[in-house]
Amino acid sequence: MRKHLLRALAVAAGASMLLTACANTPSSTNAKTAGGGIVRAENGDVKIPALPKRVVSLSPTATEMLFSIDAGKQVVATDDQSTYPKSAPRTKLSGLSPSADAIAQYRPDLVVVDADRNGVVSALNKLHVPVLVEPAATNLDESYDQIADLGTATGHSKQGGQLASKLKQQLAAAVGNVKEKLGKRSYYHEVDNTYYSLTSKTFLGSIYSMFGLSNIADAAAVGNNDYPQLNSEYIVKANPDLIFLADGQCCGQSAITVAKRPGWDRMRAVSKQHVVELDADTASRWGPRVVEFAQTVAAALEKF
């Protein structure tokens, strides 16, 4: 049995890397040059000697950010999960178990990752390739910061700044006066069909909070675990006004399957049809498409 446990622990380590989404250290840019310079990322001050012309992005969010600030032309390869935009040069490279060898085949002069997995940062540094670690943001400011980092690094500081202010405007428009109109509503966000959820301390949680929504997972989270696994009794008892499903793609869940779950038909979100199916990509990234996510939430709230 010890073998099973060891294996479980090994998997747990990997899974926690996925879930905890790294530290909260805010990053900021130091230099605003015509590309390159010093960028303060999660892994410290990264020196980028010249304007990068061969960027490899192993983070789907970073890919979306790069293309949104007109740096797409400099991107030569992205990881297998970078599904957006369509024009991104998607390859078989993996961001979740990256191989420095495989990345080096693309002769990059800048690599962007969302976590330092498999020792990829030091391996690439040995090859004199600068690496920016831009971890999962936990709020909008961190996301804007990363856009600024990528702008500085790729010589698109101006576009980075413009994108951030455009996002702020669009989000403000999406939120509108919903908060005042609706009063306090509660929600449950479902990450997968074993009831993993997320708290208000996560990036998506912070967006829901902008709408004045309260999260039923907040009271159930223990310690620093912002992705708790809730139990179904607790969810049914909490009886939230809204259910957001981010597990359509992974686990085949929908408003119909949720209504069929034993006991769930009694919940007001189900009986009043406030079960919202989210796009798994926009519901797991912290890039410019956060606006689409916010618009989905706004549309759901308009049905009240």
Binding site: L5, S232, C250, M267
Partner: protein, 359 residues
């Protein structure tokens, strides 16, 4: 391994009564407790009200009644069935292999189920086969495949089944080693598939540490027939396992078809284990520890150990699951971690207490 030899053979009424009482007590505690607590009379009224033709004022809101009848009760029942299946499987395997350190996952059922579940989660997570969700189905098939592979490899390596009784002794050791080899092989395959699908890590992890959080009455109805079948088959062989414990030569000289008994018990126990694993993932230590507890408290005859392990295993997993779903208010602790957390220290103490008899 002398402690495995039978000293008493009679089931005492007091033992059976105690085990049934403990199980019923565990079920009552299980239904009352969780992220929401219910008073016993509310639970009782709700259960009576759920019976066809009975309408009572339960004093609970409809949503609370649904929590008891639709969420909590099936979960408690599933925990009982899975615990029973694993403990019965463990006791059977220990009898067949005459080895106290054996658990029902020995012959590759855990590794096979893990591979099956990982493949299903990675490549076709949301699909169903004739209405049955693919993940438990793949886990069940994987578990049986693992055991079959280990048995075939073991038989092949030891010169085929049904050979003379002297060869069987080495055959048991070969079969155990075949189980280890198959488990290692299937685990490697599982790790490879997992590595290719790192974005599914969290779901695979969730399956491996064991979960009862999505229990439904359908799960209960799926496991129950397998467990019933296995229980009848295994219990019928209790006396024969007692004779086997004396040694293969002695058993053969008494006219016992040693190989046939072994295969029958292995098949039955593996079926129960596979069904349990399919609905709950890998829950450790129940199958290993429970038969030992029963032996220490009662006697070593399989006619006693098998039925009492079944009851005690059910009770233990129900209680472990109470901890799993109550310890962290509204969030879950994987039940497989709870059983290992309680089971490992307990087992260490047990080994210490058993030191003399093992020498």
């Amino acid at each position: 391994m002398t402690e495995l030899q039978p000293r008493y053979t009679q089931m005492r009424a007091s033992w059976l009564l105690s085990a049934v009482t403990v199980l019923l007590g565990a079920i009552v505690v299980g239904v009352m407790s969780g992220s929401v607590w219910f008073a016993p009379h509310h639970v009782l009224l709700t259960l009576l009200d759920a019976l066809p033709g009975v309408h009572l004022e339960t004093g609970l809101a409809p949503i609370d009644q649904a929590i008891i009848t639709q969420l909590r009760l099936p979960r408690v029942m599933l925990a009982a069935l899975v615990g029973a299946a694993l403990a019965l499987g463990g006791a059977s395997y220990q009898g067949v292999f005459r080895n106290p350190l054996v658990d029902p996952y020995l012959l590759g059922s855990a590794a096979g189920a893990g591979l099956g579940a990982t493949l299903a989660i990675s490549y076709a997570p949301a699909s169903t086969v004739i209405g049955v969700p693919i993940v438990p189905l793949a886990a069940f098939v994987g578990a049986l495949f693992g055991v079959a592979l280990a048995y075939l490899l073991g038989s092949w390596a030891s010169g085929g089944p049904g050979v003379s009784s002297t060869a069987i002794n080495s055959g048991i050791a070969t079969l155990m080693l075949a189980g280890v080899a198959v488990a290692a092989f299937l685990t490697a395959l599982q790790a490879f598939v997992q590595q290719q699908n790192t974005e599914k890590l969290q779901q695979i992890y969730g399956w491996i540490v064991g979960q009862l959080g999505t229990a439904t009455w359908t799960n209960v109805a799926t496991v129950a027939p397998y467990l019933a079948l296995s229980t009848v088959a295994v219990l019928l062989h209790g006396r024969l396992l007692d004779v086997l414990a004396l040694g293969d030569d002695e058993a053969a000289s008494l006219g016992i078809p040693v190989t046939r008994v072994r295969v029958a018990v292995l098949v039955a126990a593996s079926l129960a284990t596979g069904a349990a694993v399919a609905v709950s993932g890998l829950i450790g230590f129940i199958g290993l520890v429970v038969p030992h507890v029963v032996r220490r408290l009662t006697c070593t005859s399989y006619r006693v150990v098998l039925p009492l392990s079944l009851l005690a295993g059910a009770a233990l997993l129900v209680l472990a699951d109470v901890i799993a779903r109550s310890a962290l208010s509204g969030s879950e602790l994987p039940v497989g971690l709870v059983t290992a957390f309680i089971g490992a220290p307990f087992f260490a103490v047990l080994l210490r207490l058993n030191r003399r008899s093992l020498v």
